[in-house]
Amino acid sequence: MATAGSICLAAALAICLYGIGASLYGARTGRREYVDSGRRAVYALAGMTVVAMLILQLAFVRSDFAFELVATHSSTTTPLFYRLTAVWSSQEGSLLLWVLLLSLWSSAILYLTRRKLREVAPYATAVLLGFGAFFCALLVFLESPFTTLAAPPVEGTGLNPLLRHPSMMIHPPMLYSGYTLFAVPFAFAIGALITRRLGSEWIRSTRPFTLAAWLFLGIGIMLGARWSYMELGWGGYWAWDPVENASLMPWLTGTAFLHSVMIQEKRGMLKVWNVSLVLATGVLAILGTFLVRSGILQSIHAFGASTLGIPFLVLIGVMIGGSILLVSSRAESLRSEHRLDSLLSREAAFLLNNLVLVALCFVVFWGTFFPLISEAVTGEEASVGPPWFNRYITPLALILVLLSGIGPLIAWRRATVANLRRNFALPIGAAVLVAMVLVAMGVTGSVPALLMFAFAAFVLGALGQELWRGVGARRAMSRDSVPAALVALVRRNRRRYGGYTVHAGIAVLFVGVAASSAFQSQHLVELRPGQTDRVGDYAIKYERPTSRLIAASNGRLERIDLGARLRVRRGDGDAEVVDTYKSYFPSMASDLGAISRFFEGEATSEVGLRAGLRRDLWTAVGPDIGRLQPRIDEGDKVFADASDLSEADRGALLAEALRGLTRSYTDDPPPATFRFIVSPMVSWIWLGGLIVFGGAAIALWPAGARARRPATAAGLARVARELERA
């Protein structure tokens, strides 16, 4: 089986190399059949990688420990869902996932443009296959997923329990989809530059992919944040860790590109800027993929120094060098056709938005790579922490949110000043009102947070006004009911209203970020059963300890849960029950005792969460297992002596011993350490994220046939006639 997989990968590499050659040859000589052959190579690559992934998945599902990857990342006690997703928890599997997704999206774009972009597409194909060849070469020569073990173990090491969370398993496919989808506009930009075909067609054809990339990368980032909040024991969702930053940077430049490209389409301006942005986004996407597996920066996710550092650096160097070369040599073709009409225009707002987004990206970049920079400059490796990031990100984020409300209120080209005053009245009023109400309520602890709330009110007020007026305008023309008018309005102006929805989501999201950062209460306490702690408006009582033994589907013991039952009451309200516990997964190391292996493996926290729109109560417990140590040591000794028991007897005895152990914890519990956090409005972050994704979906939705009406002959004639009449 493994050999079959290796053959797939070798064939995939060969196909990539052939495809590059065929596409370039076809492009240079104009021989169409070679270009078609190159495109088919992309389809074939997709087929090969799908089969390779299927072979690997099958091995995981069957727990075939002859595969080294399966033996080191899965076990028979791992549930089926996690066995399927464990494939990409490894270096090799994740590289395979990357090239698989790349080949799928590349096949899609090339199929959709098979009769268009005749000059650009072959070069784009070569670039996409170039990425494919790079990753396939890594898989074939350096990190093969199909290495086998001569003596397969009986049981695998198991999946790191920290990854046993649905979010964590969808997070890599989402992120990689984002990165690989950004490769599409990158490749077409390169093709457009090479062929000097820098009109609007390549942008229009790749736009759905750019938007999809932005959407998936955003989902991946959100999932990571949510996982951090729910699974890691610190109750935070963003730590400015290098790996988090690595995924944020291409998202920021991608956002800038999605805005500034609209200016290019309307006015033929900013061509150099746009092409630089899309190239930078592609480079940052590869950089993100590289950072996670390079070990060059200290990170909670630094997955160890590996042999892949040098090849990735070479690839990134080639991408940067090639991009700079192409852009500077095509400067003539990238000249702007027009200039900015007026500073009081949506174009100017977009330009400002771009500058803020690039500034944000630069701050994140500088802070992330600072250890390397400082080492180069001063010889000492130094790092900056969240306070430094927050100092710059906060004002920039405030400006960004404000702009996201201003943009929709200004007309394209040149706004009428008198109308401007009228349009800004309501949103400004909303902002001032919210600010005054909040100050009156005593919410004055944080000026940035107050500003953010006011700005968000401004944005939502502006968008609400836009929606209201748009519906009104539609109804004036068509006499639809309000809901029908709304639907028709959005359907005919998907990009505009999709964008407005995204802006609304961002405002909501930042309200959540501001509230939960500025007004959080946190306690770290040691409690005995019966004791109560007060956090925020909550009274939290540690009622009693809890314990559980969890068996896997095959009867073997999967984990031990030790935790606490809490009784929570807010103010005068009813008391609610909140359970939180820590799960202990056994280690497979052979030199550990039968009992102690359960406490030497991995442990994860199950957070006790009471989420709400106004606030979250977040609880986690750290049981003190030190008191159990004598019993654990005794148990180890008993089992070491009883090695002549049968498998079944041993299992039964082990279960009995562990039950006794957990009972002793609940019968005579030592004080446990608790972390309690009351975070206002954290749910607004997830809610805002969902609204953002909904907006992106609206914008992505393919326009129906009706919207393309002007392209018919009748439409053309009408335009000409109306002009003569005017």
């Binding site: 610190w234 200290q298 500058l355 490796e381 922490g385 770290l524 030497e600 991995e602 003190d624």
Partner: protein
């Protein structure tokens, strides 16, 4: 002002803002950063200065009473001098002897005091072979 002068002015304003931001960034990053040190490099540590300590938790050195933890940290590659760290708080779930950690510390007497909530345990490496503990 004629259009081209207006454009030039806008460009100069934008570039100046960018330059100011960049200078602020660079200056504050160098002054706000904490030096990353491994235990073997902490011999000449100045008391009261914060360092970012990276290393491995030494085997058999982790003791804790309630929320007060004490452990020894050695270089990532092992061997060499170790430093004693005292940390008040909850250690992250993956924290184990033999694991790599990152923590902000300040020298206090013979012991390095860990700054609250700064202890990060690196996810046991997914992308290289698990070191057999």
């Amino acid at each position: 002002m004629d259009p081209s002068r207006k454009r030039k002015t806008r460009l100069i304003v934008a570039l100046t803002c960018a330059l100011l931001l960049a200078v602020a960034l660079v200056y504050t990053s160098f002054s706000a950063a904490s030096e990353a040190r491994q235990p073997s490099q902490l011999a000449g540590a100045e008391p009261g200065k914060t360092y970012q300590l990276t290393g491995r938790v030494a085997k058999g050195s982790w003791e804790h009473k309630g929320t007060v933890h004490t452990f020894r940290v050695e270089d990532r590659k092992g061997g060499g001098p170790t430093v004693d760290v005292r940390y008040v708080g909850q250690v992250p779930d993956p924290f184990r002897e033999g694991r790599e950690i990152v923590i902000d510390v300040r020298k206090q007497g013979a012991v390095f005091e860990g700054q609250p909530d700064s202890l990060v345990t690196k996810c046991p490496s997914k992308f290289t072979a698990e070191p057999k503990t």
